[in-house]
Structure formats: structure tokens, C-alpha cells
């Protein structure tokens, strides 16, 4: 039985990963405790994220063409494995809800204050649901188009902000207490980079011959995506200077300052398009992970009937999760980095260790086949 017939190409996976990392960080830049050293925090966070990625891509390569749910079954046995998988499903659902909430908060707070939050969340979720119903191959292909567009937009915007950037805003380098720096880097590592754990549901659909390239591909792509992200961070820190830590949406605020020859002004629309495209891809991937995973746990023949019900759960969670925008920001920077540790690094590390100790997966001849 095949839940998902599509296959992803290497470029699809790369762009999907880049869009995922760029995702909501292009709007809400986590790690603002680092103030003007935020770019250093990003480099440190990226390194930590690479460690996470190393762990779960090794896991993915060990169990070729198996999703996270199937891997858990093999490592922890049928009962414990399903329990762990269920908690991952809940994590992915929450992740999707958080991304939708970021969408809604941004549009509502900045552009259309009178519109109720539910309108933005509902329609974004509907769009995501339609994408999930089409399958991962379609989603990956979307990212091949949206990804380059967003990257080009981001670089264009940085070029246009050059007259307003002051390198002195970055100096002095490294003047920050170690505790703050570690907290900021870990926040950065967990929000964009650690969340790529959702890709463990996606790696299973790469073409069979490319499986041994997964780890190298993922690590290189993360580095590449981080470079674009760093350009964005540099631009924001140099342009806004002291104001960057107190703004809610630094990239948006910085872009409002673009004024080239009095002709290129009011270009906020650019960053909004980029955010729309990238956010959509990020939410689709985690939505897909949750739906597929649930279908695999329940051993269904197709995941399609689950898409809309899970969508309803996601929309409601999104609205009920926080009462206001500030709660969102504070939760993401103070609680989420620690809450996500088991999902992003704890359990994958444990799985990898157990797999190595028990020498899983057992070879075909005379082995336990738990896969259904």
C-alpha cells in the first residue's frame, strides 16, 4: 500500500528546505536578545542546527524510504513507537498552528487591523489543505518556483537598502554576556533550523538512488539557506540599529525605509509576497507531515480524508493558543526553545543511538518485518 505515490527530485527537496528555513523567520526574527550581535547568534544557531540535521539525516539514510512514523515503529516496537509517533503528530499540528498564527498576527497587526484573525488563518489553512491533498511532489514543485522568487526578492531588497545601512550598527562585535548569547543562539537553532525535523516525513519520498545523498544534500542546503538568511539579518541589523530589538517585524520596518530617488518607495509589498509564499510552503510541509503521519499510525489506505478534519483542529488551535501577539512572541522566545528540545534533538538522538546499538534495520534475509 502506498500512501504517497509522488517522488521528489533533489532540486525539489533543496528548495523546499530553503523555503522552510526562510519561512517565518523572514518576518519575525527570533534571537533578538542578542541585539546587535544577532548575526553571530545566527551563525552559532546554524551550527547547532547542522548538528540536529546530521542526526536525523543519518537516521533517514539508515532507514531508506521510511517516514518518521515507520522508523519509530521499527526502533521502539509497535506500542511505544506509536506513542512517540503520536506525540510527534501533535507537535507537527502545533507547529502548523503556530505558523498560521504568525501569518494572521502579521496581517492583522500591520495591514488590516479590523479584520478578525480567523479570516486570515482560515483561508491560509484552506490553501494549505488544498496543497496537502495534492501530495508532496506538487508541494516540492511549488517550492522550485516560489523559492528562487523569494530569494531574489530578499537580495533585491537588501541591495535597495544599502544607502541606509550603517556598518557601525554592528560594532562592537561580541560584546554580549555569554548567557544571553547562548539563549539567543539556541532560540535561533530551534525556531527555523530545528523545525526541519518535519522533513523526516518527506525524505522517504526521494528517489531510491538518491538516498545516500540525503545527508550531504540537506547539510549543504541548510548552509546555503542560512547564507541567504544571514544576508537578511545583516541588512536588518545594519539598517535599524538600536531599534531592531524592539520592533516586532524588523524586516518589514526596515523595508519601509527604502527610498531610492523618490520613485522606489513604499515597497513593503515585496516582503509581504515573499512571506506569503514562504510561509505557505512551511505550513504545507508540517501540515503534510501531520496528516501523513496520522494516516500511517491509523493504517489507512489514503490520507486524504484526514486533511480537512486536521485542518479544523489546526485552525482552532491557532486561534486558542495565544490571546494576543505579545504572548506569541514571548512564548516563542522563552518557552518554545526548551519545549522543543525532545522533539528536535532528544528523540532523534535516542533513536539513532538505539538503532546503532541494535544494528537496525535488520537485513532482509530472516529479519523481523514490522512494516505493513
Amino acid at each position: 500500500m502506498k500512501l504517497e505515490g509522488g517522488q521528489i527530485s533533489t532540486s525539489g527537496l533543496s528548495f523546499l528546505l530553503i523555503c522552510y528555513i526562510f519561512g517565518s523567520t523572514i518576518i519575525i526574527i527570533p534571537g533578538r536578545e542578542a541585539e546587535h550581535n544577532i548575526w553571530l547568534a545566527y551563525i552559532a544557531g546554524m551550527t547547532e542546527g547542522l548538528v540536529f540535521a546530521f542526526i536525523y539525516t543519518t537516521l533517514a539514510q539508515r532507514f531508506p524510504q521510511k517516514t518518521l512514523i515507520e522508523i519509530n515503529d521499527l526502533i521502539y516496537g509497535p506500542i511505544l513507537g506509536k506513542l512517540i509517533s503520536l506525540s510527534y503528530i501533535l507537535y507537527f499540528l502545533q507547529l502548523t498552528a503556530l505558523i498560521l498564527r504568525d501569518f494572521g498576527d502579521f496581517f492583522r497587526g500591520v495591514l488590516m487591523p479590523e479584520t478578525p484573525l480567523v479570516v486570515f488563518i482560515l483561508f491560509s489553512a484552506l490553501l494549505g489543505a488544498s496543497a496537502v491533498r495534492n501530495g508532496i511532489e506538487v508541494i516540492a514543485r511549488c517550492s522550485i518556483i516560489i523559492g528562487p522568487l523569494a530569494i531574489v526578492t530578499s537580495i533585491l531588497v537588501t541591495l535597495m537598502l544599502l544607502p541606509q545601512m550603517k556598518i557601525t550598527n554592528i560594532l562592537p562585535i561580541g560584546d554580549i554576556p555569554l548567557k544571553d548569547f547562548i539563549k539567543a543562539s539556541h532560540t535561533v537553532a530551534s525556531v527555523p533550523f530545528g523545525e526541519t525535523i518535519a522533513f523526516l516525513m518527506v525524505f522517504a519520498f526521494m528517489e531510491k538512488e538518491k538516498v545516500k545523498n540525503i545527508r550531504k544534500l540537506t547539510l549543504l542546503t541548510i548552509i546555503l539557506g542560512s547564507i541567504f538568511l544571514l544576508i537578511n539579518i545583516f541588512q536588518t541589523a545594519c539598517t535599524l540599529g538600536k531599534i531592531a530589538p524592539i520592533t516586532l517585524y524588523p524586516t518589514f520596518t526596515a523595508i519601509r525605509l527604502i527610498n531610492i530617488g523618490d520613485v522606489f518607495t513604499r515597497l513593503e509589498a515585496l516582503v509581504i509576497f515573499a512571506f506569503l509564499g514562504l510561509g505557505f510552503l512551511k505550513l504545507t510541509v508540517s501540515y503534510y507531515g501531520a496528516t501523513l503521519g496520522m494516516a500511517q499510525i491509523l493504517k489507512l489506505r489514503s490520507y486524504l480524508p484526514l486533511v480537512l478534519p486536521l485542518g479544523v483542529i489546526i485552525v482552532v488551535t491557532s486561534i486558542l493558543h495565544f490571546e494576543n501577539t505579545i504572548e506569541n512572541i514571548v512564548w516563542t522566545s522563552d518557552i518554545y526553545p526548551y519545549y522543543s528540545i525532545p522533539f528536535q534533538i532528544g528523540i532523534p538522538l535516542l533513536s539513532l543511538l538505539i538503532a546503532m546499538v541494535r544494528k537496525l534495520p535488520k537485513q532482509k534475509t530472516g529479519s523481523k518485518q514490522q512494516q505493513k
Binding site: T115, P172, N259
Partner: protein, 386 residues
């Protein structure tokens, strides 16, 4: 039949969705908006309250300037004043009288009245910072007297006071004796623990025209004094913003003078800590052209030219020194020297930052100016008779 039904259903579905795309909920119709170009904030008669004046433009009445000669045309601008405890409250009160909702994205300037500037602008700047409608590149100014009087000025060549201020400040480098401060820079200076905010001063002159002269110096958020135009240029030399202007030099002989047109200038701020004393060296390099030579002497030789350059450098030196002395008098670090020390000596900074006031008062400033005069126009000797 089944396919036809499907198409009808899909078409209806999509048509329904196009209705939702236009963002109806937060729609803003053009005729219901009053475009605010300038905001003026003053102290109200009641203690603790402020009086906000808005200059709004009625877009349906705009006609090309100077086109309709005379003939009692209605001015397309409307000035209104309202009082409130907070800025946001006062702004919403305009809706009691104005038929249109004040709409801020085109606001060009925010003017604080002198009285309220001296009391402190801290309480009246958060709204401008926080609200998404107000943009960060609007200019912040201080009015001589009341801000509402500035809004009643009638600039002859422009429609509104806001546009007039905007255009005057955009051309600041023609004289380099006014400093254009936008909201972004004002707030950065406000947030900095050492750098003092500054803002240009605006007034209405006898011909009812709007004039921007001089600079207001703040300590934290309270205005403590003014810089004359000459001192303002001194400040601009150090901030690397003096990219134009005329330096008029009086020669030793009576009735003789020179004008130098500044083309460009660069400034390097070099902080130093020597023997536990804080020193700052300011290195300015200026490039200019000879604009006017009202002297029969012949300056078209090496010695004469060097002389002119030395004189120019001397004037610049004087301007920067005058600005620095004024700044020390107000004990306000308008130049950003504190930040320069922070960037270079972060470890030492942690100890001295709380006493920056004391250190600034004892700061030793060394000014080095190098002036180069390049072109001299179409003539090289003056036609003045001996």
C-alpha cells in the same frame, strides 16, 4: 451533464472567492480619508493634556499650483486642533468634527511645540513609533513657539506646510546649516544612553512663509537649548553630513571676502583613552570650489591658493569648536562620541557609561581639518578694481 454542473459549481466557487480577495473588511475608500501631511503637538491649557493640530489635505480640491490665477480658490488644506491626554486619544477626537478619517501614511512631518519639547517629548512619541500608518522617514522638528501656528503658515510655492518642510529639509545640503532628522534617527538617539537627540527648528516668518533655521538640542527627551546655524554646520561636519554649503570668509583687508562652495566632506571620529583621559580626534577632509573672489589680490598661485585653503580650514575648525562648546555647555553629546567609545573600547565602556555626563564635560577634542579647493569657475582673477 455532470461535467457541466461541475463547471458551474467551480465558477461560482471562484467568483465567491474573488469577492474575498479585496480585503473588504479593512477597506479604506478614498473619499472617506483626510490625508494628514503634518502633525503638530503642543501643550494644552489644561495641565497634563496636549493639543494636537493636524493639517489635512482634501484630495478632491487639488489643482496645479499657480494655474488658476487668483479668484478666491478654496485652499485644499484644513487645519484642526483637538485636545487629549494622549496623542492617540486626541487624534481620534478629530472624528467628532472632521467628516473624513485622518489618514497618516502620507504624513511628512511631526512638529513639537517648544513648550512641550522643553517638558519632554518622551510621552508623545510612542504612538508615532508604534502605529503602522505612520512611516519612519517622516521628519521630526521643533517649533519656535507653538506648533499649531506653524501649521497656519502659508508657504507660497507649495500646498501644505508638510510638503514645504519636507522639500526644504531634503535640500539641506545646499547650506548644510540645518539638519534633517527623520523619525528613525530621532528614536535611535532617544534610545541611546549617551547620544543626545537633536531636531531642526521651524518657525513662521513675517511673510507667513515657513522657515527652518537652527537646531534644538535635547537631553534625554527634554529640549535644553538651541544651536545657531553656524553651530549646526559644525555638528554636520562631524556627523559626515555636510555635503554642500557656502563658507564665506572675511579676508584681513576690509571689504574683501571669499566664498567657498563645499562639494563634499568626510569626517573620521577617533576616540582614544590615554593616561585615563578620554580624548577624541576629529579628522575632517573637505573639498570645495572657489565660488566668489571679492578681492583684487591675486590668488591664482600656489601660495595664494594654499592661503585660501588654510582660511577655509580655519573657518571649519571654528564652526566645529563652537558646536562642541555649546554641546558641552548643555552637557549633551550630540556628536555620538559616546557610541564611538563604545564601539572601540567595549570593555572600558561598561565602567564609564553611567558617568558619561562627567566624562563628556571633560572630553578633550582635537580638530584636524584639511581643505582642498579644486575648481574656480570661469575666471581666475577677480575683476574688482584695485
Amino acid at each position: 451533464m455532470h461535467r457541466k454542473n461541475k463547471w458551474i459549481l467551480l465558477t461560482t466557487f471562484f467568483l465567491f472567492f474573488t469577492l474575498l480577495i479585496c480585503g473588504c473588511w479593512s477597506r479604506k475608500e478614498l473619499e472617506t480619508l483626510a490625508f494628514v501631511t503634518t502633525v503638530g503637538i503642543d501643550k494644552a491649557e489644561e495641565p497634563g493634556k496636549i493639543k494636537v493640530s493636524l493639517q489635512m489635505v482634501d484630495t478632491t480640491k487639488i489643482r496645479p499650483p499657480g494655474g488658476g490665477g487668483g479668484g478666491g480658490e478654496e485652499k485644499p488644506v484644513l487645519n484642526m486642533k483637538k485636545t487629549g491626554l494622549t496623542l492617540f486619544e486626541a487624534i481620534r477626537k478629530f472624528n467628532y468634527e472632521s467628516t473624513r478619517r485622518p489618514f497618516f501614511p502620507h504624513c511628512q512631518a511631526v512638529i513639537y511645540g517648544e513648550e512641550i519639547a522643553r517638558e519632554g517629548v518622551g510621552k508623545y512619541i510612542d504612538f508615532i513609533d508604534r502605529d503602522p500608518e505612520l512611516r519612519r522617514n517622516l521628519y521630526v522638528l521643533v517649533a519656535k513657539g507653538e506648533a499649531s501656528k506653524i501649521l497656519e503658515g502659508q508657504p507660497p510655492l507649495e500646498y501644505t506646510v508638510g510638503v514645504s518642510i519636507n522639500r526644504v529639509l531634503d535640500k539641506y545640503s545646499t547650506t548644510s546649516q540645518i539638519i534633517p532628522i527623520d523619525l528613525q534617527e530621532f528614536i535611535e538617539r532617544l534610545m541611546s544612553k549617551t547620544t543626545a537627540p537633536v531636531a531642526p527648528i521651524v518657525l513662521v516668518n513675517k511673510e507667513k512663509n515657513i522657515s527652518v533655521t537652527g537646531t534644538a538640542v535635547f537631553k534625554e527627551d527634554k529640549m535644553v537649548g538651541e544651536l545657531t546655524p553656524r553651530e549646526t554646520r559644525g555638528l554636520l561636519w562631524v556627523l559626515n553630513k555636510a555635503k554642500g554649503g557656502i563658507i564665506a570668509i572675511q579676508l584681513p583687508h576690509a571689504n574683501e571676502n571669499i566664498s567657498i562652495e563645499v562639494i563634499n566632506s568626510q569626517c573620521k571620529i577617533i576616540p582614544e583613552i590615554k593616561d585615563n583621559k578620554l580624548k577624541v580626534t576629529v579628522e575632517i577632509r573637505e573639498e570645495g570650489n572657489l565660488g566668489e573672489l571679492n578681492s583684487p589680490h591675486d590668488f591664482a598661485n600656489e601660495k595664494g591658493w594654499d592661503n585660501i585653503e588654510k582660511l577655509t580650514a580655519g573657518v571649519i575648525h571654528g564652526e566645529v569648536l563652537a558646536a562642541f562648546k555649546k554641546a558641552q555647555e548643555f552637557n549633551a553629546d550630540i556628536f555620538g562620541f559616546g557610541e564611538a567609545f563604545y564601539r572601540k573600547y567595549p570593555a572600558v565602556w561598561r565602567e564609564i557609561k553611567d558617568d558619561w555626563d562627567k566624562h563628556f564635560a571633560n572630553l578633550e577634542l582635537t580638530i584636524k581639518v584639511e581643505s582642498t579647493i579644486r575648481e574656480s569657475g570661469l575666471v581666475f582673477k577677480s575683476s574688482m578694481p584695485r
